[in-house]
Every structure is written in structure tokens, then in C-alpha cells.
Symmetry: C2
Subunit: 214 residues, 2 copies
């Protein structure tokens, strides 16, 4: 089994390398958004697109086991979106992304959001060729998630702590959660946001802006 796993990951890494080279050549910033189901990834993405679509060319690849709801929600904003249904699969892989970028209209110097399948385990191991993994954790999920799913928080460069508008109604310790995330990944950046209230979104857009300029 270990040999099979190595073969699969080795093959994935080859595809991911090809995607990464292509993104760099085109000046495209690709982000791999990872989280639990229900962390609010798609709502955050929809709101971010509304706020950013006049600043950069945008595009979205959506991963889900089934349905094209999320791509439909994105396309309603006027931004091109492609849905990948993984069926039984628990994550996107680099080969899927390679096919997606063949069919998605992607302008040079675009910002490409790849919304992975909602899952804090499997997507951690599969490089898609992205510049950064961004982990979204909602404050309704409990402080301990970075410790329980360390591979994911170790692999992410940024953690967006989402749904902070709900903090008054929850027993959630923000500092403890950030401490746990730094325990598995001392260099992880953390931004507190609410896709509903808009709080914290400017800092997220600034983070994106730095990387789009870079």
C-alpha cells in the first residue's frame, strides 16, 4: 500500500509541477482553498469575487463530490467557473486541475481560486500546483481542529478564521485556536474574517493584493 501511495503522489507531483510552471509563465496566482464542509468557503469566495472582480481577472475551479451548486453560485457573479465532481473521491488532484485549465478561460495575470472538496484530511497530501494553500476554519468548528488535522494546517500558508460575526453566541477561544495552529505551523498567517458582516475582508484583500503584485 505504501508503494501504491508513493506512486500516486509521485504522479500527482509531476502534474502539479507542470501546472505550477504554466501558472508562473502566465503570471497567474493560483490558490488552493481547503476546509471542512460548511466552513463558509463558497460564501467567502462569492463575496471576495464581488469585491475584487474590477481589480483583477478572476476565475474559479470548484471541487465537490456532487452537484454544481457552487459553480452556479460563482457564475452568478459573472466570473468564469468550472465544476469538477469527484464522485467517490475526497480531494482534487493535479491532473484534474490540468484538464480544468485547458477548458477554463484564464487571462494572463489572473487570480485563480481553486475550491477543494470540503475535507480536512485528503486534500493536504495533493499538491495542485498552487502558489499557496489557504485553510478556512470557521469559529463554529472548535479551537482544536489544527491539532486534530495537523497535516492540513501545516501545509497552509494562511488560515482564514471565518464566521467571526458568530463569536458572541459561541464558546470559542480565538487566541487558543491561533496558538494551536502555530503549534503545527509556526509560520502560518492568520486573518479573522466574516463573509457575512464583511469584517476583516480588507486584510484578506490586502494579502491577495501583495501576492498579485509580487
Amino acid at each position: 500500500m505504501v508503494q501504491i501511495e508513493q506512486d500516486i503522489l509521485g504522479k500527482n507531483d509531476q502534474y502539479a509541477g507542470a501546472n505550477r510552471s504554466w501558472f508562473q509563465a502566465q503570471g497567474i496566482l493560483a490558490l488552493n482553498l481547503v476546509s471542512s464542509p460548511g466552513s463558509g468557503k463558497t460564501s467567502l469566495l462569492t463575496r471576495s469575487i464581488q469585491d475584487l472582480k474590477d481589480r483583477y481577472p478572476l476565475a474559479v475551479i470548484e471541487g465537490d463530490q456532487q452537484t454544481s451548486h457552487d459553480a452556479d453560485r460563482i457564475r452568478a457573479t459573472g466570473v468564469p467557473a468550472l465544476q469538477i465532481n469527484t464522485g467517490k473521491g475526497c480531494h482534487l488532484d493535479a491532473h484534474m486541475i490540468g484538464h480544468a485549465i485547458e477548458s477554463l478561460p484564464l487571462a494572463p495575470r489572473s487570480l485563480l481560486f481553486i475550491e477543494n472538496v470540503g475535507n480536512l484530511v485528503c486534500p493536504a497530501a495533493f499538491d495542485l500546483g498552487e502558489a499557496h494553500k489557504v485553510a478556512i476554519l470557521s469559529v463554529t468548528e472548535g479551537e482544536d481542529k489544527p491539532l486534530k488535522y495537523p497535516d492540513m494546517f501545516h501545509a497552509a500558508d494562511l488560515m482564514l478564521l471565518n464566521k467571526i460575526d458568530l463569536l458572541p453566541y459561541l464558546d470559542f477561544d480565538v487566541e487558543q485556536c491561533i496558538g494551536y495552529a502555530r503549534r503545527v505551523n509556526p509560520s502560518i498567517q492568520v486573518l479573522q474574517v466574516s463573509a457575512r458582516s464583511g469584517e476583516g475582508l480588507e486584510a484578506w484583500y490586502a494579502w491577495l493584493g501583495e501576492r498579485m503584485a509580487g
Copy 2:
């Protein structure tokens, strides 16, 4: 890859069958609790144990990628709990459960809760030998999860809609969510609960009581 998957699932089903026979011979009701990370499974379980430990012999098997936090939380209630760390793995399997029941003190006619790894994809395919899968979905996660992760909600006999104390602060349509769950599984039972406020828990305990008597 399809052949490998069939071999793995075939082997798992053999172990699951052995577990199921043993549970039946001992009169043990084994439940496989599945959900996203952060749905409140462990809090619901801790509260249920407090309320039920004088009614039945109880035991818990906890699955997590890492940490033994959850088993520690359960053991603090005085009930035996065994933690399985899956490492890179995204679900428990029947072989792990077979080993766990060798080392866990399990009285005849016990109620055994198996808390799977927080993941709405992978645990759906792996029978552990349980009598029922119980899917916990929190109302913070959005109505669409049964459609996006249909295998899991198809495999579950009961959906516990958790954290209903937060409904006043959310845009969550309970009836729509239940409708989506019934679309993928017309016979699924649904109970609305809050581990924090205690609302709905008596109906959940009644559901358990019927099956403990059966």
C-alpha cells in the same frame, strides 16, 4: 485502481461482518457517528454519555488523525474510551475496530459509540460492523451538505441536526435541509438537537432506547 479499491473494500467487509456477528452475539448496539470536523459530535457524545450512563453500560471508540483529546474528554465522564489515531488516514476501518474491541472493556448489552474521523466523504464507504450510521450535521454548515456529500447521507439511518440553539443567528432553512437529506435518502430519520441547550436530546435518547430494547 478500481481493482485495488474493490480488494480493500472486500477485505474491510469481511472484518466488518466479523465485528457485526460479535456485536450481535454480545447484544451490543454499535453506532458509527459520522460528520464534518466541528459538527459538535464529541460535545453531543459527552452530553449523551452524562445523561445515559446510569441506563446502559457504555463505551466509546474515538477516531482522529491525531491527538487523544476526544478520548480524554470521554474518559473524564467515567466511561471507557479508546482512541485510534489514523495518521494520514481519513476514516476508521473495520480492522481497526476489531482490534479496539479486543482491548476495550465492553460489557454484554453495552451501547458502543464509534466516533469516526471528521470527514463527510471517506467514512461512507467503510462498514465498521455497526448497526447504524448516524450522521451529525450542524446548522452552521449550510443546508446543501446532504446533496454535496450524498454517499454519507445515503448510508446513514439517522441525521442529527445539531447546534439548533444557533438558528436565530444564522440563515439556515431547516425544512430545506431535511428535504435535501430525504432526496438522497427517502427513509432517513431526522432529529433536531442542541448538545449545548439540551433541546431535542430526549428524542435522541428515545431513538437509542428503542434500539437498545430491540
